[in-house]
């Protein structure tokens, strides 16, 4: 057993971090989000430098590089990247050996009849759809998604023309039956991975502020009651991080993924609440960068039935479906 990243993994992390230091970060996220734009340049750089295809390209002995891909997605989330990293780097390669044109967004088959806001929806070129028994890869034409106004940290959009999706035979490619379980697990895991990177950045930003913000003649971070709460956040974050990495390492098995997602997305709510509460009034203003990450935590909790969905999946994976 070894929880240390190996040399290759460290090199991948350092390399993607260098790219993100130059091409991502809170100021860039704020500017892009203000205009509900997608970071096409970062998306392209991630593709050109091979990070988007790391899942297959770093596979060893037929075992996909799920952990390495997760590390990259975690780093992108930490940097506040405005790219559909989870869908592109984790989910798409897990369900298809062929490259899928991005930006990619994901939805359930129900959402084809009743569209909901989707992260990066207005910019998507491809829709991967999760049904009960099938999954589909559907290329999107311009204008099929309309932007949705939101303050939850991601540009969003929803399907506007749903007629062509209503017949049982969907347009685009129908994936193999196995793809349903695979997609569910990697999608759920990708949410948890993004939550970990996002929580990490939110907590770091808050801790840095509380180390210098003084009230009552001392830094706020020096109050024991505040320290205990920040410690609790750090513990939840670290537990989430390792649950998530373990699930990625083992190829996104259902039970491990559901546990990781249930824990990480539950922790995301705690991290949102505590980082804002402990930052005080400035934490709710746009001039304080915390919102770049914190608001995203709440958006991540809304996908794929959020914490409740992960918990139900966990119970079913461990004990079987009710009545069976």
């Amino acid at each position: 057993m070894d929880f240390e990243l190996n040399e290759d993994q460290q090199a991948i992390l350092e390399s993607v971090q260098r790219l993100l230091d130059q091409n991502a970060g809170p100021a860039r996220a704020i500017a892009l989000n203000k205009e509900q734009r997608y970071d096409d340049a970062l998306h392209q750089q991630l593709e050109d430098s091979g990070f988007s295809s790391i899942f297959h390209n770093f596979a060893e002995n037929g075992k996909p590089a799920g952990l390495e891909a997760a590390l990259v997605v975690e780093a992108i989330a930490r940097a506040g990247g405005v790219v559909a990293a989870g869908a592109q780097i984790l989910v798409a390669p897990a369900v298809s050996n062929e490259p899928i044109s991005g930006p990619i967004v994901m939805c359930t088959e129900d959402n084809l009849a009743k569209p909901v806001p989707l992260r990066y929806g207005a910019h998507a070129k491809t829709l991967i759809v999760l049904g009960d028994s099938k999954a589909y890869v559907i290329p999107l034409a311009a204008g099929e998604m309309a932007p949705v106004r939101t303050s939850f940290g991601y540009p969003m959009g929803r399907l506007v023309d749903i007629d062509r999706f209503q017949s049982p035979e969907k347009p685009g490619e129908t994936l193999s039956t196995d793809a349903v379980g695979t997609m569910t697990n990697w999608w759920r895991l990708s949410l948890a991975v993004e939550a970990v990177g996002t929580m990490d950045a939110a907590l770091q930003h808050t801790v840095a502020y509380l180390k210098q913000r003084r009230q009552f003649g001392r830094t706020i971070g020096s109050f024991q009651a505040v320290q205990h709460r920040l410690s609790h956040c750090a513990i939840q974050l670290e537990a989430s991080r390792w649950l998530v990495r373990e699930a990625a390492f083992h190829g996104a098995q259902r039970e491990a993924v559901a546990a990781a997602a249930a824990f990480a997305l539950d922790s995301a709510d705690l991290l949102f609440t505590e980082t804002h509460q402990l930052s005080g009034a400035v934490g709710f203003t746009c001039e304080f960068d915390l919102h770049v990450w914190s608001m995203r935590l709440l958006a991540l909790r809304q996908e794929l039935n959020g914490v409740a969905g992960a918990r139900r999946d966990l119970v079913e994976a461990r004990w079987g479906q009710r009545g069976k």
Binding site: M156, E287, N305
Partner: protein
């Protein structure tokens, strides 16, 4: 013990409810920043009934009613989502009644009572949030002694963009005088040297920064003694304890959530029902604590600890309901301006504004439990 209202109080509650029927769409409790003309009109209509001066002494033009009537009024207004209780008729007027000169009372009270003028509270500063006694905004007498000159900055002011006057706490003593060197001023927002700048907030709304650049304020716009504002500020907050966090808002939040769940066929989900049971109990708890604060006010007891407990329970419940709204609402709840998003958004700063949860808990620890600082 009797936790109910008297016949006269219940009759007043009915009158308020009937009055508010015409204002059910104002939505000023949640959206005052967007609905200010409508909220102002509501206050003007309330002023015609002299309800803005409901609890003021009769000799100052008030109706002389007690805290129970005030509680009923603002609790119903909160339940109707019509408005938050205005600063002018509350903190400002009560302070002027208690500490203003007869001339100040004559100048300001009729204008407040009629709903003509409205105030924004200017207390917090970049370096003085919870630690208010550290504030730095200077108020120095001019060389001739004819007026004060204010220099410095306030921040995180709610609704300052719409208000007519600012209720400003400033340092007139030395910087290390803490609470002993503060004075209160009324500043016309149009005075030369005052700049109000929006501070956009994460929810798409705004707070404000207020800059004072050599702002000249007449001596007769200082309320109370020079350097004597600290106890006055505490007193004024105490006046508002029973109406600052009306549980009617929570009751309405809860009812809206229940209606939404039923309209989406989620009312029978056992997980949902379990969570709603907890939230319902929390709302009832907040209602009970709200009444306990009121009872302390009626009896003239110090309600500080009761109010601190009430504020914690009220605001945490408010956020717990909002969290449930988001969780049940799914991705649709992320759309700006939709009702679930609005309920969530309005809960965000409740545990910060008006004294943070942490300050309230410290107060309970010290004053109720006797734990030393």
């Amino acid at each position: 013990m009797n936790t109910g209202f008297s016949a006269e109080e219940l009759a007043f509650q009915s009158e308020v409810r009937a009055f508010l029927r015409d204002y059910r769409n104002v939505d000023g409790f949640y959206c005052q920043g967007h609905q200010w003309p409508q909220v102002r009109a509501l206050f003007a209509a309330m002023a015609e009934k002299n309800w803005l001066a409901l609890s003021w002494p009769r000799e100052h033009g008030g109706l002389g009613k007690g805290p129970v009537f005030e509680y009923i009024l603002w609790n119903e207004v909160a339940y109707a989502r019509a408005a938050r209780n205005p600063l002018a008729a509350g903190i400002v007027a009560h302070t002027i009644i208690r500490h203003g000169t007869p001339a100040q009372q004559q100048t300001w009270l009729p204008r407040i009572r009629s709903g003509e003028v409205h105030f924004s509270l200017c207390y917090s500063e970049p370096e003085a949030g919870s630690d208010l006694a550290a504030l730095r905004l200077r108020a120095d007498r001019s060389r001739a002694g004819s007026h004060y000159v204010l220099n410095g900055q306030k921040c995180w002011q709610s609704y300052a963009q719409d208000m007519d006057y600012l209720w400003v706490l400033a340092r007139s003593g030395t910087q290390d005088s803490r609470g002993r060197g503060l004075s209160l001023f009324i500043c016309d927002k149009q005075t030369l040297g005052i700049t109000v700048s929006p501070l956009p907030t994460v929810d798409g709304d705004q707070l404000n920064e207020v800059f004072f650049d050599s702002v000249e304020i007449p001596l007769d716009q200082r309320i109370g003694e020079e350097n004597g504002a600290w106890p006055i500020v505490g007193e004024a907050l105490a006046d508002e304890r029973h109406i600052q966090f009306p549980p009617g808002r929570l009751r309405r939040d809860l009812e809206e959530l229940v209606a939404w769940l039923n309209s989406h066929d989620l009312g029978n989900d056992p997980v949902v029902r379990h969570r709603m049971a907890n939230l319902t109990a929390q709302v009832m708890e907040a209602e009970a604590l709200g009444l306990k604060v009121l009872e302390a006010m009626v009896r003239g007891r110090n309600a500080a600890v009761d109010a601190a407990m009430n504020k914690v329970i009220h605001t945490v419940t408010c956020q717990d309901i909002a969290r449930a709204v988001l969780d049940f609402g799914g991705p649709e709840a992320l759309v700006s301006g939709c009702r679930p998003e609005l309920i969530w958004r309005q809960s965000l700063t409740e545990t910060i504004g008006g004294g943070t949860t942490e300050i309230m808990r410290s107060m309970v620890a010290r004053q109720l439990l006797g734990l030393s600082a």
